[in-house]
C-alpha cells in the first residue's frame, strides 16, 4: 500500500465533500429529521404515541442517517464514475494496488457517515423536545458501534455502487434501501416483532437491524434490545461480507 497516495485521495474526497457540504447535509438529513418531527414530536405531543417512543425512535434514526449517508457517499460517485465520467481512472492509475482505491472510498464514506451521526444526535434531540431519555453512560461501546456502523454503511455503498448502473438507482431505493429501512428496526425495536415470529427471524438477515438495535443497546438500554455480543457479531460479520463482495465487484468494474 502507498500511504501518500491513499492520504492524497482522502484529501481529494474531503475537498469535494467540503465544497458540497450543505447540499450533502440536506440530502442526507432532511428526511430523517422530518420523521423525527412527525413521529417523535407531532404524534407524541398529540397523544397518538406514548412519550417513551421518542427515546425508542432516536437510536433508529441515528442508525438510518449514518447508513444512508455513508452508503450514498460511496455508491453514487461509484456509479457515475464507472458509467459516465470515468473520473476514477486517474486514481486507478496511481502507483498503488487498485483495491486501495476502493478501501479509500470506504474510509471516506465512513467519515461522512460519522459526521452525519454527529449532526443528527443533537439536531434530533432538539426537534424531539423534552422527554428524551438517552444515556451516554457507555461511551466505549457507543464509539465502537458508531465506527462499525459507519464502515458498514460505506461497504454496502461499495457493493451497490459497483453492482448497479445509473438506470437502477430508482430500483435500488425502492427494492433494496426502502425495505432495509422498514425491516431494519429503525422505527420500532426488534422485540416489537414478537407477534410475527417468522418476520422477527428473517429481519436478522438485514444488516440495518444490528445498527438500530446496537444504538438502542448503547443509548436507551432501559428498552428491550438485541444483546451486545449479537450486535457486534452481526456488524462485524456484515462488514466483512460487504467489504469482500464490494472489492470483488470493484475489481470487475475497474479491470477490463
Amino acid at each position: 500500500m502507498n500511504l501518500a497516495a491513499f492520504i492524497a485521495m482522502l484529501g481529494r474526497d474531503g475537498r469535494v465533500a467540503r465544497r458540497n457540504f450543505l447540499p450533502l447535509l440536506l440530502q442526507n438529513l432532511v428526511q430523517p429529521m422530518l420523521f423525527v418531527f412527525i413521529f417523535g414530536r407531532v404524534m407524541t405531543t398529540s397523544g397518538m404515541m406514548p412519550e417513551a417512543y421518542k427515546s425508542l425512535l432516536l437510536p433508529g434514526i441515528i442508525a438510518m442517517s449514518m447508513l444512508l449517508s455513508g452508503l450514498q457517499a460511496v455508491a453514487f460517485p461509484m456509479i457515475a464514475d464507472f458509467q459516465f465520467t470515468r473520473e476514477i481512472e486517474d486514481r486507478l492509475l496511481a502507483p498503488m494496488a487498485i483495491e486501495w482505491v476502493a478501501i479509500e472510498k470506504v474510509v471516506a464514506g465512513a467519515i461522512q457517515a460519522l459526521i452525519a451521526g454527529g449532526v443528527v444526535i443533537p439536531t434530533a434531540i432538539l426537534i424531539l423536545g423534552s422527554g428524551v431519555q438517552i444515556s451516554f453512560a457507555q461511551p466505549v461501546e457507543l464509539v465502537a458501534l458508531a465506527l462499525l456502523v459507519a464502515t458498514l454503511a460505506a461497504a454496502i455503498g461499495l457493493t451497490l455502487g459497483c453492482s448497479l448502473g445509473q438506470q437502477q438507482i430508482g430500483i435500488m431505493f425502492s427494492l433494496i434501501i426502502g425495505p432495509m429501512i422498514f425491516f431494519g428496526c429503525t422505527y420500532y425495536p426488534l422485540s416489537a416483532l414478537a407477534s410475527f415470529p417468522i418476520l422477527q427471524t428473517l429481519v436478522l438477515l438485514n444488516p440495518f437491524v444490528y445498527a438500530s438495535e446496537g444504538f438502542r443497546s448503547a443509548l436507551v438500554p432501559q428498552f428491550p434490545h438485541l444483546s451486545g455480543p449479537a450486535v457486534f457479531a452481526g456488524l462485524i460479520g456484515f462488514n466483512a461480507l460487504f467489504l469482500f463482495v464490494g472489492l470483488q465487484q470493484f475489481r470487475k468494474k475497474a479491470i477490463g
Partner: protein, 341 residues
C-alpha cells in the same frame, strides 16, 4: 534511463462488451469477430489476436487502424487497465500485469475520452494527481503552474473543468499525464474532435516530451497524424499487426504508390487482364465490394488506357478514384478496406 515497450503474443477476449472506447463511440464493433456459442449463449469478442510488437526507447510510435482494430485494448493492457487473456507486455524491464504498481509509476496516460475530475478545478486536478504520486506540495504547485502556462490554461486554472472546451480538456489531460514526469506517454486517439489549431499545438507538446528522450505510444486512425508525428508505425487490424516500419518505408512498400479504385457494372477476366497489362500498373486487386484496385506508379495518365480497356471488354465504368501515395493506400493494400469504412 530510456524505456522501451515490448508486446509478445497478446490476446484479449472479452466475454462482455468492453467498457472502453469502441462501444462508447456508438459505432459498430467494426473489424472484431463475434463468436456465438449456442450452447452457452456467451458472447466472445476477440479484441487482440496474437499482437506482437516492439517500441524502441525514445521513439514516437503509432498504432494505426480502424475502430475496433484493437488499438485501445492494446493501450489498456499496457497501462494496467485491461488484463490480457494470454501473452505478455513489458515496459522497460517490468512485465506489465505482474508489476502493475511499478509500471504505473513510469507511465503517463491520456485517455480517448476525457476523464477529468469534474469535482475539482484545473489546478487541483494537476496537484492531486501529483500528490497520488507522492510529489511534495511545493513542487507540485510549481509544476502545475508551469504546465498550465505551457498548455495555455493559465487564465482558467482555478475554474471547475465542466465548462471547458474539448480542446482545453484534452490539453489538461496531457498536462495531468505529465505531472509526475513519466518516462513513457500513452495517448489514445489524442486529436479526435480537436480543431486544426489545437491539433498542431498538441503535436508540438508531444514532440517536446519526446525530445527529452521519452517514449511515446499513440493510437490514431488519422493518416496525417501518423505521418506527421510518428517515427515508426504499426498497422493494426483484427487485433494483429499487419505491417510495421517508418511512414516512408511503409508508403514505399505499396506497389507503385498510386491507387486507382475503379467500379464497373461487371468485372470479367478479360477486363482484369486488359487492366493489368496497362503500362505502369504494378498490381491488380479485386476487393470484396466488387470493383478493381490498380496499384500503379502514376495516376491520371492511366485513365485513357482504362477507358479503352473497359470499352474493349464491353464494361461500363461507374466510378474512378485516384489516390496518391499515402498511408491510407497502404492500409487499403494490406486489408482491402479503407480506414474509415
Amino acid at each position: 534511463m530510456d524505456v522501451g515497450i515490448r508486446i509478445d503474443g497478446l490476446r484479449k477476449v472479452y466475454t462482455s462488451p468492453p467498457p472502453a472506447a469502441p462501444m462508447a463511440r456508438g459505432g459498430p464493433m467494426g473489424g472484431q469477430r463475434l463468436f456465438k456459442r449456442p450452447e452457452k449463449k456467451k458472447i466472445e469478442i476477440v479484441a487482440l489476436d496474437g499482437m506482437s510488437l516492439e517500441v524502441q526507447p525514445g521513439e514516437i510510435f503509432g498504432l494505426l487502424g480502424p475502430n475496433g482494430a484493437g488499438k485501445s485494448t492494446t493501450v489498456g493492457i499496457l497501462t494496467t487497465r485491461v488484463k490480457p487473456t494470454a501473452g505478455a507486455a513489458w515496459i522497460g524491464g517490468h512485465e506489465v500485469w505482474r508489476e502493475r504498481v511499478a509500471v504505473k509509476r513510469m507511465i503517463g496516460v491520456v485517455p480517448q475520452k476525457p476523464n477529468l475530475d469534474f469535482a475539482l478545478t484545473a489546478r487541483e486536478i494537476l496537484t492531486y494527481h501529483a500528490a497520488y504520486f507522492g510529489i511534495p506540495p511545493a513542487e507540485r504547485l510549481g509544476r502545475a503552474a508551469d504546465l498550465l502556462d505551457r498548455f495555455k490554461l493559465g487564465d482558467r486554472a482555478d475554474q471547475m473543468v465542466h465548462g471547458f472546451s474539448g480542446g482545453m480538456m484534452q490539453r489538461l489531460s496531457i498536462a495531468r499525464a505529465l505531472m509526475h514526469a513519466p518516462q513513457v506517454l500513452f495517448l489514445d486517439e489524442p486529436s479526435t474532435g480537436l480543431d486544426p489549431q489545437t491539433r498542431l499545438l498538441l503535436w508540438e507538446l508531444i514532440r517536446d516530451f519526446n525530445r527529452d528522450g521519452h517514449t511515446v505510444l499513440l493510437t490514431t486512425h488519422n493518416m496525417e497524424e501518423a505521418d506527421a508525428l510518428c517515427d515508426r508505425l504499426a498497422i493494426v487490424d483484427h487485433g494483429r499487426v499487419i505491417a510495421t516500419g517508418t511512414p516512408q518505408d511503409l508508403k514505399r512498400s505499396v506497389p507503385g504508390g498510386f491507387v486507382v479504385r475503379l467500379a464497373f457494372d461487371r468485372v470479367t477476366d478479360g477486363l482484369r487482364a486488359a487492366l493489368a497489362a496497362i503500362p505502369g500498373v504494378t498490381e491488380l486487386q479485386t476487393p470484396p465490394d466488387g470493383g478493381v484496385d490498380l496499384y500503379a506508379d502514376q495516376g491520371g495518365t492511366l485513365i485513357p488506357h482504362i477507358v479503352s480497356a473497359a470499352a474493349a471488354a464491353g464494361a461500363t465504368i461507374h466510378d474512378i478514384h485516384i489516390s496518391e501515395p499515402s498511408l491510407e493506400n497502404l492500409f487499403l493494400h494490406h486489408t482491402g478496406r479503407r480506414l474509415r469504412e
